[in-house]
Structure formats: C-alpha cells, structure tokens
Amino acid sequence: MKKTLLVLLALIFITGCADDQYAIERRYWFLKKQAEKIFNNPEASPPRELETIVANHYSFIKKYPNNVLSLRANFDIASLYAVKKEFEKARAHLNSMRAQYSANLSINADITTAIGSTYEIEEKWPQALEQYNKVIKEYPLTPTGFSIPVYIAKYYERTYQPDRAIATYHQAIGHYKGLIDKHPGTPVALNAGLMIADCYGSLADWSNAAKTLEGILKDYKDKVNLDALMMNTALLYLGQLKDEFRAKELLHTLVNDYPKSRYSGTAKAILKKLSKPQE
C-alpha cells in the first residue's frame, strides 16, 4: 500500500512538473494577466511597468520560439505599445516579426493588418488604408485578407461617410466576384459568394443578396451542407422581400433534404405559422 502511494505521488509530481503545452499555456495566461494591468488602465500604468511586462513577453518568446502562443505574445507586445500610444515602437516590433514568420502568408497578413490598425488608432487613415489595401493585394486568400474589404467599408459606415461606404461595398463586391472567377467551384468561391451577399445586405439591396444566395444554393447543392444558408435565405425572403411563397419553398426543401438539421425544428415551426390562415 505504501509503495503504491509513493509511486502514485511520484507520477503526480512528474506529470505536474513537465514543461508541456499545458505548462506553456499556464505561463502565457499569467503573462496576459500582467498585460491586462496596462490594457485596463493605460494612462495610469507607469512606463517601467510596460518595460517589465514587454521584457517578460520577450523572455517567453525566446523560451518557446516555435509555440503558437509565442506568436500571440508577439502581437501582445505590439498591442501594449499601441495602447500606450507608442505607435512607432509597435510598428517596429511588428515589422521585426516578418523575418521570423516570412513563410506564413496568414501571419504576414495579420502583421500588415496590425500595422494598419496602429495607424487607424493614431487617426492616420490614409496610411492605415495603404496597409489594408496591401493585405488585399498580397494576401487575398488569407482569412484576414478575405474580410478586409468589408472591414474598410464598415470603417466608413462607423465614421459616417455613407458615400464612401457604398462605393467601398461595390468595390468589395467586384473584388469577391474576381475571386470567384479565379477559383470557381472551390471553397474560396463559396465564401466569396457569401461575402457578396453580405455586402448587398449591408447596402440593403435585398434582391441582389437573395439572387447571390440562390446562386450559391444552386452551385453547391449536394457538395456542402447548406441547411444554415437555406434558413438564412428563407428568412431574407420572409423578412425583407416579403416573398412567403419562395420562403416556404426553401423551408420545405430544408426539412426534406436535412431532416436531422438543427434548423429543421425552426423551419417546421415557421411553416406551421405561415400555413395558419391570416386574420
């Protein structure tokens, strides 16, 4: 019994002290907690505190250079500088990251976007836009690069520049159509189609939004799971275009083609409600 307990305790000790991914995550969590002191109150935190926390981040990155959390720690350093309004230092750090992550397009897109964000926070929109356009041109198929065109349009919406917002949405639509032409029948084209529908929705151009979604439903039938898209399209017809007939058609198709879908119950409930005679 004593021997078993000792072996068990030894096992627990060895397991608990190992420098595995969990231990790294734990160290990173404590780094984040330190950084939160500055994020929560950037004006009140003394400069020395920033230096200490950045130094701790660098130590972490040096110790675990190939870990995914080191990448986050790198971006955290840039964020810390940015929140303390030391934008040049933030951009210098972000640029220094390119050497380490040169092979990874997605990370490079994120770095360029982050540089753009520092300009945006600094209220230097032309410089920010330059960076965002660079992302669209050089990294169009990365997750960040894919969503940046809409991000730019939403910036103009937020800053009450409706004409620019509308123009940017149309530019974005053109960009996504270009992606569809270049990569037809692929997940890129599917996602680009969804972004186009999103842009038309933002422009309140519901008929074009519906047309785009119908195109996706036709092109990708039996290729991917379309239950969510079918539900959204039906709700678009019901809510915006007031076309109950087409909405019902889509909901019936959803229920028949995807009987086990989590949207099936909702679809049946809506169909039941629509079938009740109007008073």
Partner: protein, 293 residues
C-alpha cells in the same frame, strides 16, 4: 408544540452524542478518511488530465464528450468541477457504500461498548456489499437524475418565457437551483438514511431495509431532517463558490478552483458524512434500545 419540542430535544441530544462519539473514538473516521484520500487522488488525476502522459488516456474522452477547449489552461478548471462531481458520484457508489457500511458497524460496536474490530467490520460490510451498493446507487441515481430533470424543465420553460413566478432565468438557474438541489439532496438522503444501518445492524434484506427506512423517516421526520440538513449547511459556501467558477478564475487564479474542490472533499468526507452517519446511526440505536421503534 410538545411533539416539536421533543423532536428538537431528540435532535440536540443526537448531535451531542454523535459529536462525543466522534471526538472520543477517532477510529470512526478511518472509513471516511480512506474515502477522502481516494477522492483527492481522483481529483488530482482529473486535474492532471490535460498533462502528459495522462492526456494520452483521458484526452480523447474529454475531447469527445466535452471539447478540446477543456484540455487547455485555464478552461480545464471549469470542467474539473464537473468531472470531480461525476467522479465522486461513481466513487460513492463503488467504494463509499462499503466504507459507510464499515462506519456503521464501527458505530454499532462503540454504542454497545464492544471493542472495535476493523477487520470484522470490514468483513460484515463486504458480505452485504451488493445491497450497500444498490442503496447508494439508488440514492446517487435519484439525486443525479432529479437534478438533470429540473435543469431540463427549467431550460425548456425559459426557452419560451422570460419569468417564472416573477423571477427571471438568471435567478432560477443560480440561487434558486442551488437551493432546490440542496433540498432534493436532503430529502433523498433522508428517505434512505436508515437503510444502511438496517442492513448492517439488523441484517435485513435489501427491500425490507428500504421500506423500513421510509417508515423510520416518517416516525423520526424532524430529527432526521435536522440531523442531515444542519451538517449539509456546512457545504453551502463550497456550493456557492462552485457556481461562480468563471468569476473566481478571473478574480484570482484558476488554481483556486482546485483548492475549493479539495476543501469541499475534506469538509464533505471528514466533517459532514461522519456527522450524519454517526448521528443517524446513534439515533436509530438509541430509539431501538428505548423500544420506540
């Protein structure tokens, strides 16, 4: 009023006697200490589940049933609470049942001023292990499934309504659920509390012991409810903290959850369970000797 006074007097006396029995006969704690150790070891193993090498064995199970998120720091502490609860339920049925039987046998020896023989107590409990296992399984199962049923009914109700009895969902799923779970646990335990003493002391058959336990609860309702309910109140701070895991992780450090769970095990196994077992067993023996049952 007289009946109430006499019930309260009985309860007070039972508590006093069980406290003295525990104080003067530390041997009663042995089965509970064994359970506490096993429970703590189980908690540590679950705590170390995201770490190598345990991750190789437990990782796929956690990933499949819950998700990959709970194999990372600090989300693993949110799941740890649930895993610890499930583990305790399983250990209670498999080992706790036997250990409670041993404890009752020890208390019986102490009551009749006989020398305590641990081996004899162990063998007498082992002989009827299956019955002890069944009783604990029923109690645990009832507690688990009534809790699940209550959560399900509330979730279903609040998917269509904003309030129930003028109280919103947040309060129902928070303090009200806590209170209801406490009361459910109290009543379920009270229904079956005398079954194990009857199996060990009277050597009754399983079905007869269950039925007789219900009768005894009816006869000794107030004392039994108080003898179980009052010690259980000691666990309420732990329950409150367990309901606020996310807040505690953010406010302090995630490891505080482990400390709370360990404290819960110690309070439960070394304070509440011995007190309840001793108090109800001694009450039963006393009433039996007085010819009141």
């Amino acid at each position: 009023m007289n009946l109430q006074n006499s019930s309260l007097a009985t309860t007070k006396k039972a508590f006093k006697e069980s406290w003295l029995a525990l104080k003067n006969n530390r041997v009663i704690f042995i089965p509970f200490l064994i359970f506490a150790i096993v429970d703590l070891v189980s908690l540590f193993i679950l705590f170390l589940a995201p770490r190598m090498p345990l991750r190789l064995a437990l990782g796929p199970i956690i990933r499949t049933i819950w998700s990959e998120t709970f194999l990372h720091y600090p989300a693993n502490f949110i799941l740890l609470q649930k895993l610890s609860f499930l583990s305790r339920l399983a250990l209670s049925v498999l080992i706790g049942s036997l250990l409670t039987g041993i404890a009752v046998s020890i208390i019986q020896s102490i009551f009749y001023k006989r020398p305590v023989e641990l081996k004899k107590s162990f063998l007498s409990a082992l002989k009827i292990y299956f019955s002890l296992f069944l009783v604990t399984l029923i109690v645990t199962g009832l507690f688990y499934f009534t809790g699940k049923a209550m959560s399900f009914v509330l979730a279903k109700y609040f998917s269509r309504h904003a309030r129930l009895l003028f109280i919103g969902a947040r309060i129902w799923f928070g303090p009200v659920s806590m209170a209801l779970n406490f009361l459910i646990a109290l009543f379920i335990q009270a229904l079956f509390i005398y079954a194990i003493p009857l199996l060990i002391i009277e050597k009754m058959k399983f079905k007869k012991a269950i039925a007789r336990s219900f009768v005894l609860l009816k006869k000794l309702f107030i004392p039994t409810i108080l003898l179980i309910g009052l010690p259980m109140l000691l666990y309420i701070p732990i329950i409150v903290m367990e309901y606020n895991t996310v807040f505690l992780i953010e406010k302090f450090i995630p490891e505080i959850i482990l400390v709370i769970l360990m404290t819960g095990i110690i309070i439960n196994s070394l304070l509440i369970d011995p007190l309840i077992t001793a108090a109800t067993t001694l009450l039963y023996l006393k009433k039996k000797e007085e010819g009141q049952l």
